[in-house]
Amino acid sequence: MAQQTQVFVPQPDRPPPPDTSGPLAWIRRNLFRDIPNTLMTFVGAYIIFTVVTAIVNWALIDAVWQAETRRECLDAVGRAGACWPGVAAWFENLIYGLYPKDQVWRINLGFLALVVWMVPLWLPKVASKIAIGLSAVMLYPFLASYFFLGGEKGIIWTALIAAGLAGLIWVWATALTEMRTGKPVGTWLVARLGQADTDEILQRRIKQGAALALFAMAFLMVTQISFEEVRTRFWGGLFLTLVISGIGITFSLPAGILLALGRRSKMPVISTLCTLFIELFRSVPLITILFMFNTMLPLFMPAGTEVNQLVRAIVAVCLFAAAYMAEVIRGGLQAIPSGQYEAAKSLGMNYWQTTSQVVLPQALKIMIPTIVGNFIGLFKDTTLVSIIGLFDLMNMARAVGEDTDWLGLFIEPFFVVTLIYFVFCFAMSSYSINLEKKLAAGRDRT
């Protein structure tokens, strides 16, 4: 019964059957598979065509581009076309509110500073990304608030602004030295002074000295500039929307993390307080919270102190957002298996080491889509501040139609505002998808 062993010869590859690959095949398979499918394709195409042509006709072809008042638009095309001159006349207000026109450059410069601050985060070879991100969150606000507010600055205020300026300079110095030599600026400086091999205490002294010198220089620079004061009641439009949602977003993440950790704490007082706070703010609509803060906060303040209305709105938005963010983070924390905590404990890590090195990085990564979803929600929810009389982007758009020249012009400004919101939200959403992909790369066996 001797069995002859045979040599295995693999078959040559054959091309796939015709009509199963290529764009034509895709079209046939997905759009014209059978009669109902073909019918749906035509109905769908018809609907898309009608909507798009209607919008294009209204917004571009039949639109009026030159007019002094809405009356002129109506006389020219009636309601068939958009009346853009009204939006154009109000455009600066939509973006900057009632901020004095000759001071608007300060807003632009303030936002430019943020962009400049953040650029190193996207540069390859820059290693201190976490420090740069943190500095942006902690120091940029001082710089920006002076750009936006201006006015008298006492010594403390000057020091804070100087810290902001010094932070910005440090960020770029570190980004540059890391790109060229791979070392953060402090280490680079130590090496340049030929002290790379001396003991750590001396090295730390050098770094501290350099930081102090940088701060002193920034302090001197800040004392040299002075901006005239622009009260917050002149703030408005997209600028105000970005200020409120920007502060809300930057506050909500760390506060949400602390609240979520607090809620899971083993100390009953802390966990009860955190739970109470979260549940309270989550079970009340944002509008109600805004109203409450607007009318009740002044009652709790000592007589004579006046809390500015914008501050009240920002506090309300921050607390509301923090409560929501806390629950998102808690969801992420719950997804971390207990084995991770046990491994960390058995290695002798303490609570904060475990939380910051093991638990949070994983929890935040899982929750990126939800966290960014929350940011987007918050950005849109800030439209509610119009309820207490702040002129954010949305409220400013409504104001156009109440101008005597442009009475009743509502659709056009809202159309523009819709576009602006879409651009911002879509950018955030795309960025989150991008971030997820980047973090997932190489880390999972997929």
């Binding site: 046990e342 491994a343 404990k345 058995s346 290695l347 002798g348 890590m349 990085p361 190489g442 880390r443």
Partner: protein, 246 residues
């Protein structure tokens, strides 16, 4: 010759989960360099016992003394004791967001304040010892189960423990990977590490154990040298159990 010093001394240990009495009057002494294997049916309290030693579980009665330090629920002793004990789990519990190397340098850098370069150097030594130095830059989930468990052993070694605890280190692994992990543990044993290993790998127990401990329903039923234990178990319970797994 004097006897080696006592590394772990457990006296009259009792533990309850609510009403459930998991550990009953446990007494156990492990001397420096000794290797103990614990076996017994599922739910008998093996994991709970070794987890009490580094206080992943807290006991209610009795005392545990590790390397001269009394185990306490909180405080300085707990951290000191944990830094003298390395633990390896059934499910590896590597940190999936960190590379193999970062897994091994995390505690030395954070806890022992070792400079990064030195921490990486020692970590690479340990990784080489368990035979996966070339995987150092990979993430845990990119490795096989056996490789992950070996990383976990290397990670536990980075805190320079005097005692290693293993809780069923091979029961989540395929047969051919069991061997590679056991080999690493056998080598560690040969280097004189004190260890307690919960396992049902009886071949391993025969090879390295100084004592095999059989637990049932929260009690230590037998504690004997492996030859004696396998040849003629004193109790019917252990005999029945052995006939199951051998």
């Amino acid at each position: 010759m004097t006897q080696p010093s006592r590394m772990i001394e457990i006296v009259n240990l009792n533990k309850w989960f609510d009403q459930f009495h998991v550990l009953k009057d446990i007494n156990l002494t492990v001397r420096d360099g000794e290797k103990f294997v614990i076996c017994g049916p599922s739910g008998s309290g093996k994991s709970t016992l070794i987890r009490c030693i580094n206080q992943l579980e807290h006991h209610q009665e009795g005392s545990i003394i590790v390397d001269g330090l009394e185990v306490e629920k909180k405080g300085k002793n707990q951290r000191l004791i944990r830094s003298r004990i390395g633990m390896v789990f059934q499910s590896f519990n590597l940190f999936p967001h960190l590379t193999v190397l970062e897994n091994c340098t995390l505690t030395p850098i954070l806890g022992l304040h070792m400079p990064r370069a030195e921490a990486e150097e020692t970590a690479m030594l340990h990784l080489a010892r368990v035979g996966i130095a070339e995987q150092a830059k990979k993430y845990p989930l990119q490795l096989s189960g056996g490789q992950q468990q070996r990383v976990a052993i290397a990670r536990a070694l980075t805190v320079k423990p005097k005692i290693m605890l293993f809780d069923e280190p091979t029961s989540a692994l395929d047969p051919e990977m069991i061997k590679e992990v056991l080999n690493v543990i056998v080598e560690l044993a040969a280097d004189g590490m004190t260890m307690i290993c919960v396992t049902h790998e009886m071949g391993f127990a025969r090879e390295v154990a100084d004592k095999v401990i059989f637990m049932d329903q929260g009690e230590i039923v037998e504690a004997d040298a492996p030859e004696a234990f396998f040849a003629n178990p004193t109790y019917d319970r252990s005999a029945a159990f052995l006939s199951h797994i051998l």
